[in-house]
Symmetry: C3
Subunit: 155 residues, 3 copies
């Protein structure tokens, strides 16, 4: 393929999808922080219940799991199980030189599936909804990875 360049529509498609997913994952960290500050709890380390400017009235209960915070941690964990692999798989898929429309369907489709998965998890939709949305993204990931593997093997 030609040199990797942000001017190349195929590589740019990957970069847009990848950076959106990175921002998505980073947002989970910030959302965890926001919720911990809101409930003043859901902390994890013993030193977090020391008296500080940000925690003027510490309480041992602040170290107990708080479902309002834990929900974001579970969403975050789901990101960690999926996004790093998508970031690499999508990059390597570019080297198979797929048609641009197909790369856009797969890469942007993945982004959309993850944003909907977030919406479903965040609003506590039933497990079936969440699982269906996760499955869409996972199948896209598996497809891109297998396609790349076969291409590298010479098929």
């Amino acid at each position: 393929m030609d040199q990797l360049s942000l001017q190349d529509p195929l590589f740019a498609t990957y970069v847009i999808a990848a950076t959106l997913m990175i921002l998505k994952a980073v947002s989970m960290s910030w959302l965890t922080v926001v919720r911990m500050m809101k409930v003043k709890g859901g902390f994890r380390s013993p030193e977090d219940i020391r008296k500080t400017p940000l925690n003027p009235e510490p309480d041992p209960k602040q170290l107990e799991p708080d479902e309002y915070v834990e929900r974001i941690r579970r969403i975050h964990m789901n990101d960690l199980e999926n996004l790093p692999f998508f970031l690499v798989a999508g990059f390597l898929y570019v080297f198979t030189e797929p048609p641009l429309w197909l790369a856009q369907v797969l890469l942007y489709g993945y982004v959309v599936s993850r944003l909907l998965h977030f919406a479903a998890y965040f609003t506590a939709q039933t497990h079936d909804t969440r699982a269906t949305l996760w499955t869409v993204g996972s199948l896209i990931l598996i497809f891109m990875t297998c396609r790349t593997l076969f291409a590298a093997l010479g098929y």
Copy 2:
């Protein structure tokens, strides 16, 4: 080095190892799903015990940790601690232009060490066996990373 290309044997070696490891990690997600459906438990979110077509007879016990499921989650976690770093380290190692045979030994050796680690963990071999297999992969990862660091520093 020449342009990255799937026709380049060195880059193709990396891509084959990387895609196999991505598929390995994704399989852990699916294996978790399979086991959760088999024991109808090991769920994690409060909404997972709502009555749905996939969970017609919900029970609060479904939210308790289930060792049959937790084993896969621990294996998965071990993947998350290792594979994303391998995926990047292996890619950057390609730029040091190692001899093909050495890259094959390291990259495929890593893949084999992780598959054996999975087999040992999955079948609950003793900690010593599992730790030995993990160590092989970790040392390969450290070697490739240090080699790349020194090359980037100009040594």
Copy 3:
């Protein structure tokens, strides 16, 4: 941009930062091992309390969480939430062809922020200190990712 090469100062800057961060993450695994061996506990799998050469006097208490070990696991988890995304974001940021000094400030600044974050977490500094150091790294990551996204979108 020109071809990716370790002789290119911009790419070499990224590779140095990336490999240091990979070694940092891998060190957390080894540090967990060291601490588990020191306290002979903090294990996680039922098979870890079988009698073996490395564990001659097993005890069910060895499966209980041990704060001395858990601290490293929390630091490690924080790495998993941050470093894989930094590794990809930093790589893609190179394609925006930033001035070398800026790339050095951002990439090495990130490395320093994470090493200080480790020092603060390791020595159980107050949450405010740790959070401030994490924030520096997170803002660098967000900046690089947004810059890359806009560049890929043609701005």
